[in-house]
Symmetry: C2
Amino acid sequence: MSGTRHSTQRDAILTLLRSTKTHPTAEWVYFSLKEDFPSLGIATVYRNLKLFEKQGLVQRIDVGDGYDHYDADISQHYHFHCTSCRQVLDLDMPKLEFDSCLPEGHIAEHHQLVFFGKCCKCNEEQCS
Amino acid sequence: MSGTRHSTQRDAILTLLRSTKTHPTAEWVYFSLKEDFPSLGIATVYRNLKLFEKQGLVQRIDVGDGYDHYDADISQHYHFHCTSCRQVLDLDMPKLEFDSCLPEGHIAEHHQLVFFGKCCKCNEEQCS
DNA sequence: CCCATAAATGATAATGATTATCATTTACAA
DNA sequence: TTGTAAATGATAATCATTATCATTTATGGG
C-alpha cells in the first residue's frame, strides 16, 4: 500500500512557506525552522520542497542566482529580482496571453517572467 | 597596464557560439571544440563564457535545468524550453513593454521570459 | 628581433547547492 | 498492539561551476 503519511516537519515547512512572500531558499527555510525543530535535517527540507513542487503545492523560481527559490503562491504571477539586495519580489501584473505567439505545434504548460534590476529601496540607497 | 589580449581559444569559443542557435552549455562548447583544440581545458571555456557575459557579448539563459546556457544573440528575445527534449528554442515574438507595470521606484535593466512545455517534435512523438 | 611582463591557459583542487544512501524513527491500518 | 512502509536525520556523494597555480603565450618597448 503506497501513500503519503502525515509528518510534523512537512506541515511546518509548508506552513512557513505559506506565511511569507519572500520566496525563500531551502537554506532559509531550514534555519527559520531550526528554532522550533532543533532536530530538523536539511535533507528533509530539500526533500519536501521537491515533493511540494511535484504535487503542485508550490512553484520553484529560478532567477539564476544559484539558489532554488520556492513560492507557495501558485497563482500566475511574475517576479522582480533585485540584483543588488538579491530579493525576489512579487509583481502585481495581469497574466499575459502569449500562447498564440508560439510556433506551430508547440504547447506551453506554463511560463516564467522575471525582471532584473534594482528595487526602489536599493535605488534610493545608491547601492552599487 | 591592464587590458585584454588576443587568444585563439577565446576567438574559437565566441565564433562557435555565434554559429549556433542552440544556446549551448559550457560542456557542449568544450566537447565541440575538442576536435580542433585537443588541448583545450574546460576551465577556459567557463572563464571565457563568463567574460563574454560580463562584456555583454553573450547572454546567459537560466531555464532551471541545472545548466547555464549561453546565447550569442543579445537582441531582446524570448525562449521556449522543451521539458521533454531539453532544447532551448528562440521565439519570434515582439518585445513586450512592461516597465510601466513595475512598482514605483523599481528599475528593470532587463527581463527574461521562458515558456516551458513540449516542442512540436516532442508533441508529435508522444514523448512522455 | 628579443625581452619583460602580465594576461591566458590547462590541470586540478575546491566550492557549494542539491541529491542519494541508509540506519533509525514514526505514522497508521489491521 | 504490532507489522509495515513512509519519513526523518546524518552524512556521503554528485556535479556544475569557480579558484588556484604553474606554465605558456601575446604584445609593446627597447
